[in-house]
């Protein structure tokens, strides 16, 4: 029975079974999509990729050969949740099977975005995107380095925009911008430009534009690679990133010194508009010329003002007025001083007078002299002032001013003269007294000094000077002495 059972089953050699399994598996799973997490990722020296795709219970060996690896949209890495597409292949020698992968997608956009996000946060924590690391973009670069695909619209858009704005020297580093190897080529381009010596055979760019056109998240993955972010951050030449469309943001954009929403915008950020610069330069140059002209005109105007001031009559009049003022101050103070001096002299003399006639005469003389002198002094100065006034007779202001001053001084002098007058002997005479004299200058003070028949003269208030009335004593003065 046992033999029969055995004889009913076909007998395979190991290889035959292996072949059978291989045929069955490869036919059944010639095209399979498998979801799982990448682990034990490994890249061989020849460029083939190997990993194990696993879920919570099983593992599936995966291989991706070099030609396919170069076209992968997503760069496999450990921990990445992916959906791989390929065919099952068996390896009979070791009773193994594996999936030969030709496409890798991240399992769901959410998972991919999470991976990118985690990476971005890690690099940010490292300080790779810090503001103080950002280099300023030169205002007008001479040479622009571009790292992008040599095919496609990006380089075309950039060149087109540059041509419109400000034609410059452009050096292109052609690089794959998606798939396996893209990130490495992009990073190599950035490093290449940085290593150039100024003045070497290849012009060293003043600014770099690194980018590619729009695409899916997977398409843009090269610009999310750490190696690209690090190359941008390490670049001593300022980098403008231009990846995809406005809404696409990659890690490269964070690392770049300036992020352009599109390649065209990157060209706009790289160079100013030549026509605008020309206009601005012309404006500034015009301001320069106008500035100098204005500077000269200002000074001419100032010179003219000074010249006018030199010849303007009012200046002379003002000077004359000042001199008249000074003269008048002197007149006024002189007058007052003189009067004060006469008073002092009068007071002093009155204490020393021997006879009333002496006193009165002296007083009379001095008063007259003083009055005459004061009159002369004032008169002379008045004349002087009058002369000056006439000099500028056509200036009513000066005349008014001067006359006002003259009038003021005259009033003050008159008042002082009256004071002097009030204290003179004439006032005594006015009160009804008469001066009795015997001969010239001898005042009769006492009756007993007179004898009967003696000739005397009488001086009344209305007597003309030097003409006293002659008189004679009729009766002798009674001797009252005992």
């Amino acid at each position: 029975m046992e033999l029969r059972t055995g004889s009913n089953l076909p007998e395979y050699s190991v290889s035959q079974l292996a072949e059978q399994i291989k045929g069955t598996l490869e036919e059944t799973f010639s095209r399979a999509r498998v979801r799982g997490e990448i682990s034990s990722f490994f890249r061989s020296g020849a460029g083939h990729l190997y990993w194990t795709l696993k879920d919570d219970r099983s593992g599936l060996k995966c291989a991706c050969f070099r030609s396919a690896a170069q076209r992968l949209a997503v760069r496999p890495e450990d921990g990445l949740e992916v959906v791989v597409t390929g065919r099952v292949s068996t390896y009979g020698q070791r009773s193994e099977y594996q999936l030969i992968v030709d496409a890798v997608e991240v399992a769901g956009e959410g998972a991919l975005l999470k991976m990118i996000n985690d990476r971005r946060e890690r690099l940010a924590a490292e300080g790779l995107f810090d503001e103080q690391r950002k280099r300023p973009i030169p205002y007008l670069p001479s040479v622009i380095g571009v790292v992008t695909s040599e095919q496609g619209a990006v380089i075309h858009d950039i060149l087109h925009r540059l041509r419109e704005r400000f034609p410059r020297e452009v050096v292109l580093w052609p690089a794959l911008v998606q798939g396996e190897g893209a990130a490495g080529q992009i990073a190599a381009g950035i490093a290449f430009f940085n290593d150039l010596e100024p003045g070497g055979p290849v012009s060293r760019p003043d600014v770099l534009i690194v980018g590619r056109g729009g695409g899916s998240v997977e398409d843009l993955m090269a610009f999310n690679e750490e190696v690209v972010a690090r190359a941008i951050a390490a670049s001593r030449i300022p980098v403008i990133s231009a990846v995809g469309h406005e809404t696409d943001t990659t890690i490269a954009d964070f690392a770049a010194d300036l992020r352009a929403p599109t390649p065209t915008a990157a060209a706009e950020m790289a160079v100013p508009v030549r026509a605008e610069l020309r206009a601005s330069l012309m404006t500034t140059a015009a301001r320069l010329a106008a500035g100098l002209q204005r500077a000269a005109e200002t000074r001419l105007a100032r010179l003219e003002t000074v010249r006018q001031q030199l010849s303007r009559p009012s200046t002379r009049i003002e000077r004359l007025t000042q001199r008249v003022d000074l003269a008048w101050n002197r007149v006024v103070s002189d007058g007052a001083q003189r009067v004060a001096r006469f008073r002092a002299t009068l007071a002093h003399a009155s204490g020393r007078l021997r006879t009333p006639v002496d006193q009165v005469r002296a007083m009379h003389r001095r008063t007259d002299a003083a009055l005459t002198a004061a009159d002369r002094g004032i008169g002379a100065r008045y004349d002087q002032a009058e002369l000056r006034l006439r000099l500028s007779a056509d200036q009513p202001r000066l005349r008014d001013l001067t006359e006002q001053r003259l009038e003021q001084a005259r009033r003050r002098w008159t008042a002082q003269a009256r004071l002097l007058e009030a204290s003179s002997h004439k006032r005594i005479l006015e009160r009804g007294f008469a001066i009795v004299q015997t001969g010239e200058d001898t005042l009769v003070r006492r009756a007993q000094d007179l004898a009967a028949g003696q000739a005397v003269t009488l001086l009344f208030q209305d007597s003309p000077p030097g003409q006293p009335i002659p008189a004679r004593i009729l009766e002798p003065v009674p001797d009252r002495r005992p």
Partner: protein, 85 residues
């Protein structure tokens, strides 16, 4: 200003200096002699800026890695089947 110093100035630097000179001349208290000197310097800067603007010339080349070495190729002399980027 020395001529060599002037040549070393970028467009932006020269324009900034020019603007500073314009401000200087615009001041009322500037010495006339000084204003004239500033103006002459300004004219030099203006000419320098103008030269920089006129230097605008498009020149395109691309890097090619060949036999481990690197060479620059201008698009016109490049292989005819490569795209005229």
């Amino acid at each position: 200003m020395e001529d060599a110093d002037l040549q070393a100035l970028s467009f932006e630097q020269a324009l900034e200096k020019l603007e500073a000179i314009v401000e200087e001349i615009d001041r009322d208290d500037v010495d006339l002699e000084q204003a004239i000197k500033a103006y002459e310097r300004g004219v030099q800067l203006r000419d320098h800026c103008e030269r920089k603007l006129n230097e605008a010339q498009e020149r395109i080349s691309k890097i090619r890695v060949k036999d481990g070495g690197i060479e620059t190729v201008s698009p016109s002399s490049d292989d005819s089947d490569s795209p005229p980027f």
